[in-house]
């Protein structure tokens, strides 16, 4: 074994604490880097990857079974522009009776298997249906009904369908039916209100834009009897929804990854340079016995790189494993297949970067000692620190505090460089905690703004009938606007509701038809957070999201002209709202803005406190089966935000631990240097408790300084990242209220977190110092 390696290994054995701290910090750093980078890479376009894997449908079309036959539809699969098709599958509204009497109306499709050329399904549990009484349900349906494989679902009385046993749970990437069974289990009903429809999925040659998809849909519809096409949907909406959530994740993960890597690099640099400087005497001795400068550097590099490598080797797999639950949750949120995600290139680069920081810091820190003569290095390493912090020590000593406190306080600034490193470590820890807490609070507000679940618990839609524009396809017509409104108003649990109708208008520079939603009745309670201005209060006033203002180059207070079927509507823009529907190019206005006597298509209902939304929806659905009653899911928003918050909490915890290790390391180095002074103080009567107090006091001041700087740094980071997330995700500005999440109590807690990080980092070395033997230390002088 070479002398260099022998010396490196001997030092590792002798400096166990230093070795363990380096390994621990590198473990945490590589863990956080791997976790963040794996999530970052795996979060990139999960919809696109899943869509390609499943041969997802670019276009799904629903046809009236009463107007077209299966064989006619089969021929439409060969329409020019279509490269593959699946179906037609019969779809029937299935009325499921819950044990508590409530009825759910869910679309049930007849399909002979999960595979096929288009829209392949992934079975996440159980198997495909093999008998007429067996059904496979979607993950969303399973979540909503709380149903598992093996459960039975009872059909409501009068339903042509039997009671079904759930034999599987499947996921697809498109607008899937709620359940599937064998094709011959789905009856062909054309006479009652609940008519059978046909569903067909198509993959197209060109499907990048809505226009391309629409043109093929028109061509498909042209070859069959008029009125046969009930509805057509494309994959772009689902993609937009998924991409929006991931686009929120990506800047956040990027920022956090960069922050985590920088913070880790800084603390590693602190750790390594501190350890090298503390070993200056050893360097002198090595040189005096014949080690060349290069060999000295090699010994030090070995001391640092061996534990660093061990830490990284442990941290990378733990980081990869830790990222899997997050990836699994992401997949679940978007109903995507779950896969084991690894990003070997990104992880390798991340860890390589961390090890490079260790190497560079070691080389830089050891080069000074390497250039010193042997005698100088020994003298420098042996001499007690002098000349630093005397004035500060005297100043602090004059404070009316117990002497242990003032001694410690005076010590805290004795070594400016190390003090700066310690403050920086605490600052990073506090900034991380501040940023994470703030972002978590803000994201809760963003989530509330997106889901509006506190304001609106139930949506009701009514149809103008098959072929009409309003309401969901496959829902029969029958109940007028007035009747529907009266029915909702009559429900005792209705707190308030608003009726609405959406029309498309043309606005200059919008570049596309702009959905204009008009509300009947007081609607300011609907829960769209205001960025600037106010909610509309009168006919002719409108609010719009940031993207609308940006796209149309309009400003608050401007009057725009919206053309509705050739008629100009003049709208004053009175408010900019936080709204992330569609691509955010939309307008919301008062009912009176619409010309003529429009009928409402949808109703948003707020329930009285304590009312179950599902129970309410069940009651309403039972009373009017022709209405679409929906308790809104949130399109994975909840899961996505829980995911972000969990990632945030995990990474923040790791960074706080790294900061803690940074403080710990500094205090270990300080107490090692101050061993003689501590022994003297103990010899002249300082009890162990005061020794601990003194060392804690030496970092308390730094904790306060670190917190004082870390809190505004974290708040600035919070504001910038949140703003960036809004801009990247959906070109939206962020309401000021989303930033103002730091209460006085929270700020006090954050300041306390700084002191806590400092104290916790110092506690162990303080206790070691308190337990050290006076005579041993003084005799080694």
């Amino acid at each position: 074994m070479s002398a260099v390696l022998r010396k490196s290994l001997a030092d590792l054995r002798r400096r166990k604490v230093q070795t363990v701290v380096i390994a621990l910090v590198l473990f945490l750093s590589s863990l956080s880097a791997t976790l963040a980078l794996t999530l970052l890479v795996a979060s990139d376009a999960p919809f696109d990857r899943a869509f390609d894997q499943a041969q997802g449908a670019h276009l799904s079309m629903t046809f009236a079974a009463s107007a077209v036959t299966e064989s006619q539809l089969g021929a439409r699969g060969f329409t020019p522009g279509v490269i593959a098709h699946a179906g037609p599958w019969k779809v029937v509204p299935w009325a499921i009776q819950e044990p508590d009497g409530r009825t759910f109306l869910e679309p049930l499709a007849g399909r002979d298997g999960p595979g096929g050329p288009v829209d392949r399904l992934t079975l996440s549990a159980g198997r495909w249906a093999q008998r007429t009484s067996e059904v496979v349900i979607s993950q969303r349906t399973a979540d909503e009904l709380g149903t598992q494989v093996g459960d039975t679902l009872t059909s409501a009385s009068g339903s042509p369908l039997p009671t079904m046993t759930v034999v599987g749970i499947a996921n697809g990437v498109g607008n899937e039916p709620a359940a599937w069974t064998l094709p011959n289990s789905v009856p062909l009903v054309t006479s009652s209100k609940l008519q059978t429809t046909y569903l067909m999925d198509f993959r197209l040659v060109h499907a990048a834009t809505r226009e391309e998809i629409s043109s093929v849909a028109d061509a498909i519809g042209a070859g069959i009897p008029p009125g046969a096409v009930l509805d057509s949907t494309n994959y772009l909406d689902a993609k937009l929804n998924a991409d929006r959530t991931t686009s929120v994740m990506i800047p956040f993960l990027l920022a956090f990854s960069a922050f985590a890597l920088l913070a880790s690099a800084f603390i590693i640099a602190n750790l390594v340079s501190g350890a090298v400087i503390a070993g200056t005497r050893d360097i002198g001795i090595m040189k005096s016995v014949g080690f060349t400068p290069a060999q000295v550097v090699a010994v030090l590099a070995g001391q640092m790189l061996i534990p660093a490598l061990v830490g990284c080797l442990a941290g990378v797999p733990v980081g990869i494993l830790s990222s899997q639950p997050f990836l699994s949750d992401t997949a679940h949120a978007f109903n995507l297949p779950r896969t084991f995600g690894v990003a070997p290139i990104a992880d390798g680069l991340g860890v390589g970067g961390i090890l490079l920081v260790v190497l560079i810091t070691t080389l830089l820190a050891s080069s000074r000692a390497g250039r010193m003569s042997a005698a100088s290095a020994i003298a420098t390493g042996s001499a007690p620190a002098t000349g630093h912090g005397y004035r500060v020590a005297r100043l602090v000593a004059s404070l009316p505090l117990p002497r242990a406190w003032t001694l410690g306080g005076g010590e805290s600034l004795a070594r400016p460089a190390r003090t700066a490193m310690t403050v920086a470590a605490i600052l990073i820890g506090v900034a991380t905690v501040t940023f994470s807490l703030g972002l978590s609070q803000s994201l809760t507000l963003v989530k509330d703004g997106l889901t509006r679940a506190r304001q609106v618990q139930v949506f009701v839609s009514r149809s103008d009938g098959p072929g009409g524009k309003g309401g969901p396809a496959s829902m029969p017509a029958g109940r007028s606007d007035q009747q529907t409104a009266a029915l909702i108003a009559a429900q005792p649990a209705t707190a308030r509701f608003v009726a609405e109708r959406q029309v498309d208008v043309a606005v200059a520079r919008a570049g596309q038809p702009v959905p204009l939603t008009a509300y009947r009745g007081e609607s300011s309670w609907l829960g769209y957070p205001l960025i600037h201005g106010r909610w509309f209060g009168a006919q002719g006033e409108a609010v719009a999201p940031t993207a609308f203002f940006t796209r149309t180059r309009q400003h608050l207070g401007d009057t725009i002209t919206a053309n509705l079927d050739g008629q100009d509507l003049h709208l004053v823009l009175v408010g900019e709202i936080f709204d992330m529907r569609g691509d955010n190019i939309l307008l919301r206005t008062a009912w009176g803005t619409l010309p003529g006597n429009p009928e409402a298509q949808e109703y948003e209902i707020q329930l009285r406190p304590g009312t179950s939304a599902n129970a309410y929806a069940g009651t309403l659905q039972s009373a009017a089966q022709e209405l679409g009653v929906r308790v809104p899911g949130n399109g994975g928003i909840d899961t996505a935000f829980i995911l972000i918050n969990s990632t945030l909490a995990g990474l923040a915890l790791i960074l706080a631990l790294i900061a803690l290790a940074g403080v710990f390391n500094t205090v270990v180095l300080n107490t090692r240097e101050k061993a003689r002074d501590i022994a003297i103080l103990k010899a002249i009567g300082m009890p162990p408790r005061q020794v601990v107090t003194m060392i804690l006091a030496s970092v308390a001041l730094l904790g306060i300084v670190g917190a004082t700087a870390g809190i505004p740094a974290g708040m600035a980071l919070h504001r910038n990242i949140l703003t960036l997330m809004g801009q990247i995700a959906s070109s939206t500005a962020i309401p000021e209220s989303f930033f103002n999440v730091f209460s006085l109590g929270m700020l006090v807690l954050l300041a306390a977190a700084g002191i806590l990080i400092a104290m916790l980092g110092a506690l162990l070395p303080a206790q070691w110092a308190a337990r050290s033997r006076v005579t041993e230390v003084l005799q080694t002088e």
Binding site: P384, A385, T386, H388, G389, Y390, A393, R394, A397, R403, A404, L407, G410, E411, A414, R676, D677, I680, L681, K682, A683, I684, G685, M686, P687, P688, R689, Q690, R773, V774, T775, L778, Q779, E781
Partner: protein, 236 residues
């Protein structure tokens, strides 16, 4: 006059690769007001004995009574209180805190003991005056000579009016002139009634300043002589 220090069968064994007996069943007493010199060759256990008497170290076996306190019964905190109120310790290499001025070094034990600031400062200034280094009170140790540093250390040892003053080779790091000055100070203190235990390897110094000389060899007490009567007191 009663025994201020009473050691009974005190042993100290350091365990390492092999056991090292630093003190081997040492028993003797020290009367109040006495100057006792502990002598012996290097590694004979002199400093260990001083450490055990001063509560800086615990014996492996035996009892140490100082000023009617059984040190074995004291916790670490109790020993710290004992050291700061009952004993003052002077080290060969002074052991001053380099980042504190002479005055602040002297003040520390009083401050740790909770003596009021004004009273502590008065005592410290008096001591620095008495020891002839008042002019250097605001100097840091690095700017003081060896003799001046040792006088600061003596002032620090005396600030809480200890009943026992322990001096471990107090002139070992000083030139002869400074050494004489320090010994003169210790003699004056003893004339005032201060009990002193002095560890030294300097035979002449021991004979000149101590009323009693205790000799150690390989951790065992081999000679205990009262220098005032030039006769052996006892060896157990």
């Amino acid at each position: 006059m009663g025994q201020l220090v009473e050691l009974t069968n005190v042993s100290k064994v350091y365990s390492g690769d092999r056991q090292n007996v630093a003190l081997d069943s040492v028993s003797f007493g020290i009367q109040a007001g006495q100057v006792t010199a502990i002598m012996g060759p290097s590694g004979s256990g002199k400093s260990t004995l001083l450490n055990v008497i001063g509560g800086l170290d615990r014996p492996t076996k035996g009892t140490v009574m100082v000023d009617n306190t059984d040190l074995d019964r004291l916790s670490e905190a109790g020993l710290a209180r004992f050291r700061r109120t009952r004993v003052g310790i002077i080290f060969q290499f002074f052991n001053l805190l380099n980042n504190l001025t002479a005055l602040d070094n002297v003040l520390i034990p009083a401050q740790l003991a909770g003596v009021r600031a004004g009273e502590a400062r008065r005592r410290a200034n008096d001591l620095l005056e008495r020891l002839g280094i008042a002019a250097h009170r605001d100097h840091y140790p690095a700017r003081l000579s060896g003799g001046q540093r040792q006088r600061v250390a003596i002032a620090r040892a005396l600030i809480n009016n200890p009943t026992l003053l322990l001096a471990d080779e107090p002139t070992g790091a000083l030139d002869s002139h400074a050494g004489e000055q320090v010994m003169t100070i210790l003699a004056e203190l003893n004339r005032g009634g201060q009990t002193i235990v002095l560890v030294t390897h300097d035979e002449q110094l021991a004979r000149a300043s101590a009323s009693r000389v205790v000799r150690l060899m390989d951790g065992a007490l081999v000679d205990d002589r009262d220098e005032t009567v030039r006769g052996m007191v006892r060896v157990r």
